[in-house]
Symmetry: C2
Subunit: 271 residues, 2 copies
């Protein structure tokens, strides 16, 4: 029960090696013997070439980051964002992943409740296209410190409620330890998420926290009970890839191959 | 329904004018025509003189910050912290306030669940002394971004559950908009807190957030729906003082009288 997860489940979320292009990240994963990569949309232009690079590598794609950002001040802008999400679904399908991660966006004004309705409406409107393309929509609750700038969906409890309300087999959630570790309802909500967990992301919460966005640490360098959370996620039925997603300038500045080596060790020791 | 609260409820939490001594803050409040002040323990030495300054001023004391910090690695250290809390209760009573704010502390290790039990045990053990001295214990849930360094109690939901579990009329909660504004369960939990709200603190969440600790703004400068939350708190029965509590170097560096003038205007316009 206290053993490491299979190394075959380890996935590099490519933001962890942000200085690498997609091609470099794919080659780095292959060199390191990884079987999965998580891809960011701002790294995939031109798409056809990226698709070829990924397919040729034999790597699986654990998810595409990110759709979402639904709330906006005007109907026209909300419509534009829906279109962008439809495009993201197509990109996910082209890259061969069935998981589109949704970072749902902040409120355009002070009305956070209204923004949450815009998120629900936005996701509802893209479900048919996602189903058609075989892509699942993964609601990722972000840490509440991102509520004003990145996501009005802040907890697993809220993400579960939203998924239940949408009531679609094409909608699930992402559990990222960095965003949810502090939550007294964490284990109850992970259990409630049984059957709809589409991804598990790991990193660590460093003390003291150097920065809101860029302050994530390598697993084991902080205070998160990562293994305990991973085991809860497995009890809830998730056995898919585990993405390492770290925003940290020091890690970004380190040579990618070294980061992947550290990441493998930390995964085996702490995830 | 959309009107400002009575100016007679406005209280200066003295951290907002952190460069002022207690004497300067009390005199500043009197000059500004305020009727309340919220006091910090690191500002009250020597206690007898502070008690005299406050009593002579005629100001009411809306609360004393802070007790808490219960979790610790050893039984000896936990015992020492209980003693410090008993001392804080005495100080609150001496200063003439019936509210001791509890910032409950982080885990001494990675076990956040265990730390939460230490908090419950800690509060339970100081209730008899608080009752004897006529001081109520006010659990303040802090924003989840402080979970690793200041408080394992991160939400109103958790604070309400803890208060219910303790089941004492001497234990209540503080609602601070900065810590709880993002929460989808906010209004439900404020309603559940009916009868046990012991304080209401205001400031604002600035975008972009400049700093985890020192990034609070003046009311109206950020995205929090302060008035809506204040009205919910009133529906839940709280009609006591409203403390302005701002950690922000720029505000700390401004002349105190100017800060109080800005604070009064912002209170009338946005609280």
């Amino acid at each position: 029960m206290n053993s490491a997860p299979e190394i075959s489940r380890l996935s590099l979320n490519q933001i962890t090696t942000n200085n690498w292009s997609l091609k470099e990240a794919v080659e780095g994963c292959v060199r390191a013997g990884l079987e999965w990569i998580g891809i960011w949309r701002h790294k995939i232009e031109p798409l056809e070439e990226s698709v070829r690079i990924v397919k040729d590598s034999g790597l699986g794609v654990s998810g595409l980051c990110r759709g979402g950002m639904f709330p906006a001040a005007t109907a026209e802008e909300r419509r534009r964002r829906i279109e962008d999400n439809l495009h993201a679904i197509d990109e996910a399908a082209a890259l061969g992943t069935d998981v589109l991660v949704l970072v749902n966006g902040p409120a355009p004004d002070r009305d956070i409740t209204g923004a949450r309705s815009m998120v629900a409406d936005g996701i509802a409107s893209i479900i048919p296209h996602a189903r058609e393309r075989g892509v699942k929509l993964a609601i990722e609750p972000l840490h509440p410190m991102f509520a004003a700038e990145r996501s009005v969906i802040c907890t697993l409890r809220e993400a579960n409620r939203l998924a239940e309300r949408l009531g679609s087999p094409d909608v699930g959630i992402i559990v990222d330890v960095y965003h949810v570790w502090w939550d007294a309802d964490l284990y109850e909500e992970v259990e409630k998420a049984s059957g709809r967990i589409l991804g598990f992301h790991v990193s660590d919460w460093i003390v003291p926290t150097p920065d809101l966005l860029m302050g994530r640490g390598m697993m084991g360098d902080g205070v998160i009970e990562i293994r305990k959370i991973r085991q809860a996620v497995e009890r809830a039925g998730y056995r898919g890839p585990i993405e390492v997603e770290i925003f940290n300038q020091e890690i970004w500045d380190a040579p990618g191959d070294e980061v992947l080596a550290r990441m493998k060790d930390a995964y085996l020791a702490h995830v």
